[in-house]
Symmetry: D2
Subunit: 361 residues, 4 copies
């Protein structure tokens, strides 16, 4: 143990994800209980290090949060200190305030800063580390699309929500002889769609990694119809590109665009081509909410303890990753290098096809 | 017991609803076990009595369905025999096939026909009864908007789904300092929005019965903001009319229109007026799915047994209704006469206001 | 509104029950938000009024507790101020400390005291009211055995837990061709056993109100066996008396006895008499835990607001009761006068029999 | 593909486990859909191959079972053909009927037999394979104590049930200032206790692999008490040996004994030594029931498809095992050789200690 380690900071960045609180709790408990450190919680991501919005975390403060979704520290997607949106006299401009972050790390006396975040947060963390900040990373991506770690927390909970939704829609599909379409998360990778599709017994699964055609989808539905099955379940990742129109985005106000709409599009085209009645459900933010599953709580706890261990050992510029069955420290640059995609010829896709699932191709 | 009662039919009409299978099971078990009758299941609503799509129901056939959502008999919204869509050589026209229904009731030897359905199905049932069919009705409306019965099955389950969704969105709202909008079912009445809003601790509840303004909604949000609460939950019934644009519908293909979109509209207007980040979730069909709650299973069972009892006693042209604490037989014409609306000055609205909920008015 | 009302106290007494926090929240929010009162939380039942263990409740303090089980105020079964266990120099004796409660109500400046509790707490409350305390009662009994109110909060949640357990045991019963016995709460009344039994499709339901025999139970099981059904579910209330041995209690240490064991007894006797393999599950405290159901959250909220309304109107010595569809104020002495038992010839039992359920009689 | 493969059998042996039906479905769908085979379901384990109790499985027969607990084929612990209990004229004796199994495999024309089962079933399967039966194994152990596979299906679902129970008991513990003891499955290994303990935030975890003392347990409770925490959660595996009395068994009738009782014992000793009120909950069979979690459904599906693949490739005498991230075929004798225990100095135990969990040692 390095003798000077006394105070550790922790922040959560990027989108909400079940298990964030479990990580914060584990960091705090391990730091205080096991290593005798002080813990400082940074509010609303890196933003809290710009405007000094921080709090002291003690065991009482993290009591009862293990099973709660969200993050008690707050989070945001608008906290990039290298490109920070400043609103000034009605005028908006982006400025580099990273120097404030570094100054505040110093001023707060943080000997280590645990950053829990996704791709974006990790790139910021790496940049800050390159400028001298004592960073330890913990990966967070509900899409599970990070190559460096076998799996991240939040994914299993999202999978539960998506699978439960498919289970619910199954009975409606069957009763009404409809094709029910469920649009789930998955911007660049189709893990949630693929795994929820298998777990929910989806008949068609559409993911970014496997180009599909409406003909391909309809062929499966009609084949089921001919076999006497008057209903179908179609699981589609929000980022699955439409054969003609590509990735579908919708304007969500303020000039921002978000993925979404591929479900509605596929639904109406199926209805046009086959005459089969369709209904579309977009799960959206439900997938980020709720109490983390046992698996996610355990993985979050492991990540949290490991991060403190890394800090105490001076392993900065690294991220805690699951390399089954162990948690390992992986250099940040390696960690953010590659996205984890669904291998189109991998075992999971192949096995899904074996039980009769179509990928619309 | 009337001596001639030997065979009873049962059909489910209109939209899917948790508890339908529990009713079918209770009708079948009570008829066979208690009264020694035969039970005929009619497939896909009144349509099954037009094209003779029926099946024999025995105890084995209804085993294990008590807790399953949907209906093993199938259902549809397109089964009105008085106005039946006939597709013939690419041509579509509406014809009156009610005579086929009456003939088939006779041919199948049905001494009674239990119709489980909503408003639409009950009007058809009443018309058939007026023409001599031995009808017994069981009310089904997931919106709980029938005056004749204190409550119907399916509503409690839908309330669970909506409340669970609000619980999930709460943590995201809190973590991201957002206003989360949840659009729930409720075409003409706001029961689901009101009760899920109270159960989920919604800050604003928007329902058809209480006209709201965007100003009213924003005032509540800003008041919360001033009190240091950086997030809010807004529950809006799909049929809550927009102050300027009225009830919002969206085209869902094939010329059909469905309610929906008020959530998105309210969300983007809040964002424009207040600058508060908003996210919208539309629950849609999830609310009709899933295993029925214990309450709904019990009520369904009571309705089912009562309907057979009514049939055996020759109480035709009536519907089983809950008049707490009893199940009563109510004439069909009375049953369909009046919709149950949320009383704007009733106890529930008043109490919700007392704990700080705004109705945007 | 009476002009002098300024400060209101609230306490929870007796056993844990889902919805207590929802009541505390509603009392606090309505008192502060709607009537401008101060709210004092009393810790650990009447005990907090003996040793002055109280806290100030504000809106922040009750934020986020609507959906949490348990009570933030703490509770206990050992708080009877008229018969208080004093431990002094290793000696134990019971003393009357009710004068301290009355003095402290005065000293704390409580213009009203909302007591949320069961039978025992209400008797204490009534006695204190008779001696001048400004008491308002809210009924809490997870067994739902209070005649004065149609239903109390907590029961619906316990029903969920019990029904979900039966659902889980069903598949094991079926796979292993076993009789699964589930022992549920119900000391003097069989409401949970009856309703969970109907909701879970129990084959046999054993309750205190209907004497059963082992022969009666076995007859049903063998009849099912002969009909080709190799499994059965038996739901038994902990207070259902054994035909020969009466109500079964077990010693739980410290000289205290609790109900329990009838499940094991019935299971082993069934196995002896029929050779059918049995397994027994005792749900116990699981039934008191967990997030309250939407129904319970709404009812709790209504009770809480009503109690403040009663206090403000000076309606003391009364209890808020559900008389569908309204909440009414009922004199405490009337409220505790009579237990609500399952009517052995009532509709629910009769309908359960109609779908084939046996009561072992 | 071997040209002669035409018909494949499948059976489930040993105790009930969530995911069995998902395996049966995957075997059936892959065999029929992907390889054009016929599938024969064997009823009630190896017993079905003794008395010829079999059925044809087609896609319709496995429709809708993916999310259902239990096994549609039935299962039993009394099916060892090498040591089969014969009841004859009131006399009982054990005989070797394995020749009947081998004959029936032949007579039914089974080119492969998929055996889904635990330790016991796999030993039988290996013996039958040694005598020429074309066996493919799929591991099933809800305790997750098989060294050959990283994890087996059912464990994640059991973990959910146990964690949910701990969550429920938490609020009661807190409200009543009690120590709540939860006894979970785990005969020889403490995986469920350990992981549910971490996921549920248990304060003390007692497992077979780490000897504990009552003093050790009480020390932790008193330390919490001194720190102002008036409640505790203790998770104990049914097979955790009592310091003085060793592994606790209880007589469950018919001369059989089962594990159980350590929870009650620990509870009453804590109460004696510390005066802290305790309550004990035994989860028992609830842990084997319920709908399999998404993870378990996916793993079950992978095992099922792999088993058919193995059969078609002639890989007999082997078992499908998860060696993350792949499913591998492992020789049966290797598979049953070693039990997987919790490493007392492994990462998981160490990390649990870091967040403050005691193992009573």
């Amino acid at each position: 143990m390095r003798t000077r380690m006394r105070r550790i900071g922790v922040l959560t960045g990027g989108g909400d994800c079940p298990g964030l609180n479990a990580v914060i709790r584990a960091v705090t408990k391990a730091a205080i209980h096991h290593y005798g450190l002080e813990v400082i919680g940074i509010k609303d991501g890196f933003g809290g290090l710009i405007n000094g919005n921080v709090c002291r975390l003690d065991e009482g403060g993290v009591s009862g949060i293990l099973h709660r979704g969200g993050t008690i520290l707050g989070t945001t997607n608008r906290d990039n200190p290298f490109h920070y949106l400043l609103r000034d006299n009605g005028e908006e401009r982006y400025v580099d305030l990273s120097y404030l972050v570094l100054e505040n790390i110093d001023m707060l006396g943080l000997d280590a800063l645990v950053v829990i975040g996704g791709d974006g947060s990790m790139r910021i963390a790496m940049e800050l580390y390159n400028r001298g900040a004592p960073i330890v990373g913990i990966p967070k991506t509900i899409d599970n699309d990070l190559m460096a770690t076998d799996i991240t927390f939040g994914f299993d909970t999202a999978l539960h929500t998506a699978t439960e939704a498919i289970d619910k829609l199954h009975t409606t599909a069957e009763s009404h002889h409809r094709a029910m379409i469920v649009e789930v998360m998955g911007r660049n990778s189709g893990w949630i769609a693929l795994e929820a599709g298998i777990a929910g017994g989806g008949d068609v699964i559409l993911i970014p990694e496997i180009p599909f055609t409406i003909d391909g989808v309809c062929a499966k539905l009609l084949q089921r119809h001919d076999a006497g099955k008057s209903f179908s379940i179609i699981v589609v990742a929000e980022g699955a590109p439409h054969p003609q129109l590509g990735v579908i985005e919708k304007n969500c106000g303020n000039g921002r665009k978000v993925l979404g709409g591929i479900g509605e599009l596929v639904g109406s085209e199926i209805e046009s081509y086959t005459g089969i009645e369709t209904r579309v459900t977009v799960l959206g933010h439900l997938q980020r909410g709720g109490a983390p599953s046992p698996f996610d709580r355990i993985l979050s706890t492991r990540f949290g303890v490991k991060a403190v261990e890394m800090a105490v050992n001076g392993e900065f510029g690294k991220m805690a990753c699951l390399r089954t069955p162990e948690i390992k420290a992986v250099p940040l640059e390696e960690a953010v290098a590659e996205q984890r995609k669904v291998p189109p010829d991998g075992e999971l896709v192949r096995y899904a096809r074996s039980v009769g699932t179509s990928f619309g191709d």
